[in-house]
Amino acid sequence: MIVADSAFTYTPGAADWVRILPELILLGAALIVLLADLATPAGRKGWLALIGLLGVAGSAIAAALLFANGDGQSAFFGMIAADKAALFADFVILLSVGLGLLFSPGYVERQGITQLGEYYALMLLAALGMMFMASATNLMIIFVGLEVLSLALYILSAYIMSRSRSREAGMKYFILSSFASGFLLYGMALTYGATGQTNLQAVRVFMAGNAFHSGTGFGPLLIAGLALMAVGFCFKVSAVPFQAWTPDVYVGAPTSVTAFMSVGTKVAAFLALARVFDVALLSVHATWMPVLWAVAVLTMIGGNIMAVTQRDVKRMLAYSSIANAGYMLIAVVTGTQDALAALLIYLAAYAAMNLGAFGVALAVERSDGTGATLDDFAGLARHRPALSAAMSIFLLSLAGVPPLVGFWGKFYVFQAAIIGGHLELAIIGVLTSVIGMFYYLRVVWAMYFQEPRAVGIPAVSTLSVEPPAPAAAPASASGGGAAVLVAEPAVVAAPAPQEAYQPPVLAPGAWLGLAFAVALTVVLGILPSGFVDLAIQAAHTILR
């Protein structure tokens, strides 16, 4: 069917453009933001976020219309899917970029970010890349989408140019991620060499038609291709043992960016992973399954155990995102239609709760990027009760406590695994979830069970008790993770003596974003049937 002979031409029609309407709208919004930046005076850059949000809303509406009325065909000769799975993923990506944009105004100014026009445009472009990657049905488009999102995120990670942590995050992400992209591309090239196809559907047909024998010529080629692609994808979803970049990048990047990319990248990479392994390469499931099985187990165990020792909440959330990648990998390993539905459910649930948790971390963070350790969360419930309650809801949801949305993600993944014959993965998942419960609840513990430390309270009577306390805060912040990051003593020493740290005032957008995330976490938790139904419909289309 899809034979590239020399006389082949393909003329895109209007229907093709309609099928990528959500992406086009987002692209338009990004360009408008760049133009509007020129006309917006400094100090009013918040409007740019609004333009971005309008673009996100428009894109979401387009995706909804396509979900309801679209024909589900691929655009541009099988390059980009407009099936329900792609559109569902678009929703989740748009949700995360929308929340990321809501969290940004106020926060980015506080962090000393200056080029706001480019910042907002890059957020939108990263989301664009994610949407392309999630909808790609061709190895080439997967890679193009990946590069679009990665390039935008490299810049965004390093966006606080005055802070070495942020520069380091950008650099580290850039080098390691390019390396992984190389692996992925090499793997794709070898797969193309073995199958003669880059279109996933064509690869699938080829694989089904040519029973796979490792003895024949293309066997080793394909195995090498599979392995290299697996490495590339595992890096992108931050699975163990390819996770080392995640904590440093997540902590160093601006938190609004971390919040967005921790979810968006996962959605894009997992959709691509599922399309490649669970669709195109399903007939060699037995070949790749043990590898991803081991990666899933390592990721669940490693991510959860490493998260236990973290005292910086952002770093803890970074390791928790590794652990969550492990649960999502269970679905990929299982590979049934139920499992793919479970993957989509998990991703949607993860978007709401993880963005929310990062949103709270962003709200308590100081202008020098520190201040999100467990000590800073101690007694938070006393002076920020609403924020603490929201954080508790997100963390409990991440821990998988019903009836919050995170529970349904876990439930569907474990159910699919058990029905799909991977009881052992469900049991490992459950046992590692208990570890997760420990470190998530430790934040709740800090917020509710501990008394506020003198440094955290704005000017209350106890301030005089502990004179050395202000100096202790930066020390504990940098002492948190693996001590790769050297706090600049000169910079740290300057703000420290200013007594009575005032918790930053949250911008209305951030409140709105947090309220939205809480609403999603709770309402979808109590009434999950609607979005579960959509995810199941979406999973139907991915396997066609």
Binding site: P402, F411, I419, I427, V430, L441, W445, Q450, S529, V532
Partner: protein, 524 residues
Amino acid sequence: MNQFPILSVILFLPLLGAVGAALLPRMAGWGWSLLVTLADLAFCLALIGQFSTTTPGYQFTENRAWLPGVGVTYALGVDGVNLFLLALNALLTVVAIGASWNVARNGDRSREYFVLLLLLSTGMMGVFLATNLLLFYVFWELMLVPAYLLVGMFGGPRRAYAAIKFVLYTAVGSLLMLVGIIALGAIVSDTSHTAFTLDLPALLAHGAASLPRETQIWLFLAFFAAFAVKVGLFPLHSWVPDAYSEAPAPVVVLIAGVMAKTGAYGFVRFNLGVFPTASRDLATLMGILSVIGILYFALQALVAQDFKRLLAYVSISHMSVIVLGIFALNTQGVEGGILQMVNHGILIAALFLIAAYIEARTGSRRLADFGGMAKRTPWLAAVFMIITLATLGLPGLNSFAGEFLAFLGAFRASVVFGVLGTLVVIPAAWYMLRFFQGVMENPESGTVATATDIPRGRRGGAKLSDLRWGEFGVLLPLLVLTIVLGIVPGLLTARMESTVQHMLPAITASHTAPVLPNTTTVQR
């Protein structure tokens, strides 16, 4: 389906109370909570009045679609097993709210306190009512979070340790149960070629209770993990003394009084109801664990220095008696177990409240600090004595009938377990009298002699205040029930009988236990 949804009302009234408690100011929030829980109790009593004693299956059922694809429904039902546990939960919630008057008056974060207390009550109500396994699990976890926060926010000095230990113990158990639940659904839908469902009656109709022995044993163990932790069965009990001794008294009333029963209830409802073959084959193991628990915890209670820890051990020792009765797998044992769940709830709540009153008056929990309080607080001593006698199983008070039935059942199942289990009456009498005499009788000790009514100092001076009217009011319903249920336990057993008798033949397929007219015997 068009009938009045009384079970939903009972389930969600505490939640309504929580909403009010979150919005209203402190004292009004307390009043509102009390009012709502009293209404809840009234509905439970109405339910008991309407309950048909001859129907073995679920009554007042409600069933609504929740997540159709995976057989998750909002399904509630009441039968002879959970009827009185609902009422116990409602009653002890009222008692706990009533006893929390001080928190409302001068504690900080009283809003959070009442919201969490009522959420906990909702969760436990849901656990008893749910007839869909996943709904059950949702409520099971829902009660964990408020309990964690209540212990951690309002407990004693080691509260954070106790809270996290409690959560980790229970989380391991309940997550294993989640795997068991899903696996049960998957296996049943596989073997019966029906759609995946987690509705308990549907599962049983599809042959859930006749799975192969091997499968049953694994699933039994998955559920066992969750229930044994909650009960505090040996050797999964070590969170209990910490949590009970650190939590504030009204919270212990709910945790020890009701939450521990959710585990025992789970054993009856799921392990006995769904895995009959495994229950029969593992009954010996359960008996061994129970007997070890009964005796070992009793000995721990004998040597405990802190009387809240002592009571924690008393509680789990008696809970082990309940489990022993349940896994005797005969009518007497199971009925005794259920009856004893109610009695134990009433008594342990009263004991922890009395312990809190004593601690509030003297500021100490060390038995060595006490002696001779009865002279100064005669009313408190009198109430304490009645509860003490009931706890050690004096005939005519409530605990006697339940423990008698449970031990009778154990004897009929196995003489060894019966004898060993019954041995506990010796240490039981000893530790209770050690507690009572140590505090109330004996020569007056230094602490008591010099205690000057630490709590509010309203009357100041060198006089320990006796039981106040408010405190007495909280204890009164428990005291009344202790006596009433001691005289007419048939009030309860009559409503359990048909359910229990219907449930057991599946388990003891081989030997049918002749049904003794036990309720009437005990009544006299």
